[in-house]
Every structure is written in C-alpha cells, then in structure tokens.
C-alpha cells in the first residue's frame, strides 16, 4: 500500500485527540471511535504518511519489541478505507511529519475501531410507492398517529 490517504471529508467529520478519535459518517449514519493505538496511526495517516512510513516509525521507536507492525497498520488502514472513512489522496499531499511526531507518541498498540450503527435507521426513507393527483404521497400502511 504505497498511497497516501486523507480523511474522507465532507462525507465524514472527525475530532481527534491524543487518546481517541470520534468519526461520524454523515452519509450512512454510522459513527466510530478509535482507541489510543488507532489514534496514533490516524494522526500519522492524515498527516500524509504512507503505511510503510508509519510502520517504519513505530519500528524505529520500538526496536525489536513490536511484532507484526506492518500487517497491523496495513489491516487498520484497510478497515478505515473499507468503512469509507479515508480515501486515497488525489493531490500530492505533503508528508508533514519529517520529525518524530510528538502528537502521535512512540508507543505502538494494536489499534481498535469501534463502529456504532444505532443512528442509521434515522436516515432510512419512508416508502413512497404512490402519490395522489396533487403529488402527495399516500400514507404508508401501519402509520399511527396520536
């Protein structure tokens, strides 16, 4: 995976701290939290680092102590991509992380992305099968009113 990525705005909105990221997908109604391990990867990713560069960073910071860094980072980035939370950068995104990152922190922990879907139903359409002569939709069956 040699691409650089950006947050998939404006379809998503996010807020990140050192310990956590909250991401809301405005299209689907899903929202996510990323734990501390994931927040470190996220902060590097959206600063323009490639997957290999992120893995290199953690391996350098934790020599001989972290197994499977590359595959873990790559798997996490794939998960973010599959959920539509990041997209491949089409412009030349500069790598803004030339020095060891203070924000990300050097410790590598396996990242975790939690997905919440309890709001998705609010975006579902009521069925509109037929309309009357003035254009008003016929009332869906089973609709109850006070």
């Amino acid at each position: 995976m040699s691409e650089r990525f950006v947050a998939n705005e404006p379809k998503i909105v996010f807020e990140a701290s050192e310990d956590e990221v909250v991401i809301v997908n405005l299209d689907t109604g899903s929202y996510y939290t990323v734990d501390q391990g994931g927040a470190r990867i996220w902060s590097l990713l959206i600063r323009g680092l490639r997957v290999a560069e992120i893995a290199d960073y953690f391996e350098r910071a934790n020599p001989g102590h972290v197994p499977d860094v590359r595959s873990t980072v790559a798997g996490f980035v794939e998960e973010l991509k599959a959920e539509g939370l990041i997209r491949i950068a089409t412009d030349d995104v500069p790598n803004t992380m030339t020095d060891p990152p203070g924000v990300a922190g050097p410790t590598f922990e396996p990242p975790r992305l939690l997905k919440f879907t309890d709001m998705e139903s609010l975006l579902l359409l009521d069925p509109v099968h037929e309309v009357d002569e003035s254009g008003w939709p016929n009332q869906p069956r089973g609709t109850t009113h006070a």
Binding site: E15, S17, E20, V21, V24, D118, P127, V128, W136, P137
Partner: protein
C-alpha cells in the same frame, strides 16, 4: 450533507417511476410562492386567524395561524416564551391545516424520486430554501431563510404526530436557528442563572427523568430532548420547549406531574402548566453530563473525555435533524472542549440527583 440517493432509493424497495409535476410551476421559489398562496386562501376561508409571538433564544418568532385548530396542538410547548407585542419578528411561521380551513394542501411538484432522509426534497432544499414532507402525517414544512418566512401545513390536525406535540415546528426552528448562531441539540438542560448542565444521551439513557427529577429543587428546568446552543464564545443553552417526556413505566416516579397526553409508551408534560416557576429561559453551560441507568449503588459523577461526550451528543443531534452535519458536529466539538464532561451514574435514590448536579455549578446566589 451529501445526498446518497442511490443507496436510499435502493432501500425503498420498489422501482419508482418519476411522475410528472403536479403543476407547471417548479423550483423552490415558485413552489414557495404557491405555498404562500395556499396559506392566504386558508386565512380567507378559515373561521379565524390568530397571531402569537415568542422570544426564542433572543430571536422574536411570530406564529400566524389560519384557523384555530392547530393552536392547542402547537403552542403549549412554547407558551413559556410568549412575548406578544415585543416588536417585529425575525421569523414568521404561517400554519394551517387543510381539513378545518377548507384550503386544502398545496400540490407537490416533485417526483417520488426526490425524497431524501428526513423527508427533505432534492432540488427544493437549497442554501435559501428548505422543504420537507412528513410522509406519514402528510405534513409540509418550508422556509425561505433569506426572508425569515416559513410555512407549516398539515392535511388534518388529527394527524399531528404525538412526538411533535412536545416539540412543535422542530424542523423549521432547526433550519432557521442554524442560520442565526443557534444550534439545536438533542439534550436536556437544568441549571440556574450562574450555570447549568447539559444532559445528553440516547433515548433511555435517563436524561429526561434526570431533568424532571430536578423540578422542585434549586435547579430550574431549561428543556428536555431539544435545546438551543448559542454559538458565541461562551457556551450558553437556551430553552426551546417546556415539554418533558418519560416512559409510562417511569411515571410513578413523578406523582406530582399530571401528563397532558400519553401515547407511544410515553407521558407528555408541559412544565409551563405544572411548574411555571421552575422554568429558566437560558443559562451558561458549566458541564456536559451523560446520565447512565445501571446497577449503581449511589448517584455519582465520573469524569469522561471530551470525545466521549462528543460521541454521545453529536450523532443523535446530527441524525435526528435534517441537513445538520458538519456545523452541528463542530459546534458540539467546541462545546465539549470548553466545559468538563461527566458520566452521571444513576443510583436508586433519585432525590440526590439535584445536589450532585448542583455541585458542578458556580457557587453563589442563583
């Protein structure tokens, strides 16, 4: 918010052929003019017309009713903000029902394919205009944000959903307030003039019962379910509705409160009728509190991160309201970073709730 048309129409489940427009006029401006014309017919044909003014978050809003049938349905939740004779309104909302005025409903010129989440209409919801239809209730909401003029029409007053009896004109208020530095948020609020707490969480988290439990304490009631957040430098919450709702199984906890109505498993109260002295129109926000019903031995507070509060407050606000999205997220993000956030672990003794929350407020005379 982007409109994922293909995905949503796939969920409709049937092939929907576009239909011809119901009349020659099309486009949001022409449609809005047609709606205005229908309202004026309702005024002429209806038995009476009445105007009421309300001061909502320092903005004067006028409701013009064609006929009286909607007045007892729409106004009780707003009565605590009544401000007749306070000047010229910034927003005028014209309301009518088709059944009692005899004016009918305006023809809808769009296709079945144009419906979007929350009943918004593609092409008729623009920077200037917002248009939505509540399909089940046969209810139209439309606003011209540049003119500060809105219409709310329903085929029959009997169709007004129970949920809207406590939060009338929610969409219109949301559309307009967002343009005027007020963000509608899905939260309850209690406090005093020096400070208050926002109670956030999903349905069933205990925010409504926590807010109602504070009635009779030194904490006043700002609102339940929906409040307005001021987007100025210092966070401030404004009352919108004086209603409160609790699940019917929790009614026994509030023997002094007589419900105005009950339906959908919930009892609806109007605090203006029951405890008008306990209402507070606005206060600074001192903390965001996330109630949690559980097996807690006693009611206590536990600090949580700003992002934990964001996760609880932002999605339910964003997805309950149309075209909310980024602006709401940013407003709530800013809020949770400005004030401390807590989990309120609710114990069996509800009487201790007000004292626990009061401990979060600035000390001094209220």
């Amino acid at each position: 918010m982007a409109e994922p048309a293909a995905r949503h129409h796939a969920r409709v489940g049937r092939s929907l052929a576009p239909r011809e427009p119901a009349h020659e006029q099309s486009g949001p401006e022409a449609f809005f003019a047609a709606v205005a014309g229908t309202f004026e017919r309702a005024v002429r044909k209806g038995p009476s017309a009445e105007t009421r003014d309300y001061l909502i978050a320092h903005r004067l809003v006028r409701l013009r009713f064609a006929g009286g049938a909607l007045i007892p349905i729409v106004t009780p939740a707003l009565d605590h903000l009544r401000a007749d004779g306070a000047g010229e309104p910034a927003l005028t909302v014209c309301l009518w029902d088709g059944a009692t005025t005899g004016a009918g409903m305006p023809p809808l010129p769009w296709s079945t394919l144009d419906y979007r989440p929350h009943g918004e209409i593609a092409g008729y919801s623009t920077e200037r205009f917002r248009t939505s239809v509540n399909l089940g209730a046969r209810q139209l909401s439309a606003i011209d944000l540049d003119r500060g003029l809105a219409f709310s029409a329903i085929a029959d007053p009997a169709l007004v959903p129970f949920a809207e009896r406590g939060s009338a004109l929610l969409r219109i208020f949301h559309w307009w307030m967002e343009r005027h530095r007020r963000q509608l948020i899905h939260a309850a609020a209690v406090g005093n003039r020096r400070g208050g707490v926002l109670l956030a969480g999903r349905g069933g988290s205990g925010k409504s019962s926590t807010a109602l439990t504070c009635l009779g304490s030194e904490l006043a009631y700002v609102g339940d379910d929906y409040c307005l957040l001021g987007l100025e430098t210092e966070p401030r919450v404004y009352s919108l509705f004086n209603s409160g709702k609790v699940a019917l199984e929790d009614r026994a906890h509030f023997p002094a409160l007589t419900p105005a109505a009950a339906s959908d498993g919930k009892a609806l109260f109007f605090i203006e009728r029951l405890r008008p002295d306990a209402l507070l129109p606005e206060c600074p926000v001192s903390a965001v509190v996330l109630p949690e019903v559980g097996a807690h031995a006693r009611t206590s507070l536990r600090p949580v991160s700003a992002l934990t509060a964001l996760r609880e407050l932002a999605p339910s606000t964003i997805f309950q309201l149309s075209r909310s999205g980024e602006q709401a997220f940013r407003a709530i993000s800013r809020l949770v970073k400005q004030v401390p956030c807590y989990r309120l672990e609710l114990g069996p003794d509800r009487s201790s709730i007000p004292a626990v929350l009061t401990g979060l407020l600035p000390r001094g005379s209220a």
